[in-house]
Amino acid sequence: MTPRLALKRITKQYPAVVANDQVDLVVQPGEIHAVLGENGAGKSTLMKIIYGVIKPDQGDIYWNGTETNIAHPAAARDLGIGMVFQHFSLFDTLTVAENIALGLPPDTRLDELERRIADTAQQYGLELQPQRHVHTLSVGECQRVEIMRALLGKPQLLILDEPTSVLTPQAVGKLFETLRQLAAEGCSILYISHKLDEIRALCHTCTVMRGGKVTGVCDPRQETDSSLSRLMIGAEPPAITHHEQDAGQRVLSVRKLSLEKAHPFATRLSDIDFDVHAGEIVGLAGVSGNGQQELLAVLSGEDTRAAPHAIMLDDAAIGRRSAAWRRARGVAFVPEERLGRGAVPELTLAQNILLSHQSGRTVRRGFIRYKAIQRLATDIIRRFNVRAAGPDAAAASLSGGNLQKYIIGREVLRQPRLLLVAQPTWGVDVGAAAQIRAELMGLRDAGCAVLVISEELDELFDIADRLIVMAKGRVSPSIRRSEANMDLIGQWMSGLWPGQTGVSNATAERMHVEA
């Protein structure tokens, strides 16, 4: 059988890094083919080459057996290649059909297009109403618009880049059904991911990449998580041991927290209630864009518009207190964006200490104590195995994982009473991720109250003592990790939790805490 797509010795070099090094890839017709690798392994670059966004420096591309030069995305679409990007390019103020029409020839009739959309939607089980405006859609529905857009081009090859990072477990199941049906009809699918269980459940073949090179091609159904991760990172992920521990006194309590949007595309927070106690990790799950960003900003003090008593730190009403005030009283915060928020890219690691260490140790009489911050930075680099040239290296010169270790180390060293962490291991290699999780556990054991916000449910199930779920700006009652399972949390992620039907959230939470 002629392969649908074959890449031979593709190489792409950037000034600082070889993104793809002699990469071979063969995709058969009707095959669901996974490309597995950590962030920075070169998956995205390879897909952009196939879709004509980037030109390779060397190597050949064969499409259905003939050598092809894909100069730009339009050429790729003409060949029959469709791509669903991780970040959507949709106009909020237009309808589904109008958004899709934008990519089609100008003489497309909208009513006819709507019919085609409805037909295709039915055929593949993609629930989608063509007349709805995009701003009313959930993230999962937006993704369906993108998939629909790709499907209308009748593709022979569909590329999906990390499609499940924005979906609830139930929505993932639906997506997989659609993909299997497409494949059964002969469409090849390239599935980019770093999630081992998904790949093992869905894909027929798997090409594993590490550091820009292909490290193996296998049938994922015959592999185990550990054998796949050996191919992906060259080692097995260290296991985390979780031991039960009684939570101490309440450190953070949020009561009836509601907040209007700061800008039109923000999420409104409504009626949020939850507690975090000393010596426990509370995991906040949820599909991204459901108000996690807004909630974090309110808790950290970056946004000080909340009602004073809606947020209590011990006995102090802190709703309107500044970030610096909260920090001085033992709150630490690790934001999702490392460069530009958690650290200033142009400044050295030592100078970046001052973002969160602002006490007499680092600043005396208004002047910076350079020796002290230098020492602190050196300590963090050593203790947390940060790979950096030294305390004078610019923050921007570190890899994402190393910078994250540094930032977490910086906050841990402050011995906080309350730590807020967003996406602690997002884009971090597996080894560093394990280390970061262990640090969070250590902090918990030392009596710190920890709130972890993450899109990775596995991670939350690994480290959290209790789970709460955020959907549409609301927060669910809490549930002990031992009582929760993926299905339940998945349901809650779409906003369906018991508190919604009569029981008030606060009562439910109390029940769980006392249970």
Binding site: Y14, P15, A16, S300, G301, E302, S322, A323, A324, W325, R326, R327, F333, P335, E337, G340, R341, G342, A343, V344, P345, E346, L347, Q351, L354, L355, S356, Q358, V363, G366, F367, I368
Partner: protein
């Protein structure tokens, strides 16, 4: 098609050398310019860059021009580092001249001797005037999120018209035959000279002190650190709990105050009275000075020197070479353009792409 590709590791050396390159490029463009208008290029260039500093008197005149440029550009360097784009230093300078002039004219009668305290009072009034003018911009930005570039720029023209109104009215010399200017200030109200026999006045000392203090503030103090984080990464500043409003007010008031002080020094130094025009565009030239000096409070000493040369060279080339007065502005423009071009090419690589 020509394409700019970012360099992975822009040379640190080159980014420090870039202002030097820019000065050399400006000279090269000057050569071409003089050739094009049929002058002896080398001799003309010498008028610009050598003639002004051939003797002590020349150096002192350069210092007279350098003082206001340095005072203003130290303040602007702080502003720009905090991402606060105060373009209206010229207006703040004019306001400083007005308030300082008003104070001098109020106390300056037959009985008053002037002296240290009254001079200090007038200088403080000048700084306060500049701060007031910059404060308007800061307030509108803070309260209504008005763009500080536009507001500060438009306030320049308001300030100039206000000065013109006053020297045609309330502050006009009653015995001045209707000329739009104030009385000449008595000697007791003029800034002491630093070098006997020259016009080099106390302003240069103030400017050098400002540069030194500015350097200490930006490199050593926590407050200066906060300003710069706000400029480099606003989200990180918010994360750290550094107030953006505070940065805005501090930088606007300091730069306005320094510009106002420069205005006060001008009228109590080389000018000696209030006239409709108290500055040949020092406030605008200082923007270029700040960037050529790499927004570094000590770096701007050198760029102020170059800019002062351009001012004097421009005056000399009018008298010696018969060039039009626009020549100074042309050289200033070429200098800024060369600097920006050098910076772009240091951070990017030019590639030819089909």
């Amino acid at each position: 098609m020509l394409k700019l590709e970012p360099r992975a590791h822009p040379s640190v050396w080159m980014s420090w050398l870039s202002p030097v390159l820019a000065v050399l490029l400006t000279m090269a463009c000057g050569l071409l310019l003089f050739m094009a208008v049929g002058k002896d290029p080398l001799a003309s260039l010498a008028v610009f860059f050598l003639e002004p500093i051939k003797d002590l008197r020349g150096w002192s005149e350069v210092g007279v021009k350098l003082a206001p440029l340095l005072l203003i550009s130290v303040g602007l360097a702080m502003c720009f580092r905090a991402n606060v784009f105060n373009i209206g230093a010229e207006g703040q300078l004019v306001l400083g001249a007005i308030t300082a002039g008003a104070v001098v004219l109020y106390f300056d009668d037959e009985t008053a001797q002037g002296g240290f305290w009254l001079i200090s009072l007038a200088l403080i009034a000048g700084a306060a005037g500049g701060m007031l003018w910059a404060g308007i911009t800061a307030f509108l930005r803070d309260r209504y999120n008005a763009n500080e570039i536009l507001v500060s720029l438009m306030l320049v023209y308001v300030a100039e018209l206000l000065l013109s109104y006053l020297v045609h009215g309330a502050l006009m010399d009653p015995d001045g035959f209707g000329f739009p200017q104030s009385r000449l200030f008595s000697d007791g109200f003029l800034l002491p000279t630093v070098l006997p026999g020259t016009r080099l006045h106390l302003g240069i000392i103030l400017a050098l002190a400002a540069s030194l203090i500015g350097w200490l503030y930006l490199s050593r103090s926590f407050s200066g650190f906060k300003l710069q984080v706000g400029g480099m990464a606003p989200l990180a500043a918010r994360y750290a709990g550094f107030s953006a409003r505070r940065s805005l007010w501090v930088t606007m008031l300091v730069s306005g105050g320094l510009a106002g002080l420069a205005g006060a020094c001008e009228i109590m130094g080389p000018i000696g009275q209030l006239t409709p025009s108290v500055s040949p565009g020092y406030g605008f030239a200082a923007i270029i000075v700040a960037f050529v000096g790499r927004l570094h409070p000590v770096g701007v000493i050198f760029s102020s020197f170059i800019m002062a040369l351009l001012y004097i060279g421009g005056e000399l080339s009018q008298s010696r070479l018969g060039m039009p007065s626009a020549i100074t502005g042309i050289f200033q423009g070429i200098l800024l353009f060369s600097l920006l071009a050098c910076d772009v090419l240091i951070h990017n690589r030019l590639r030819w792409r089909r």
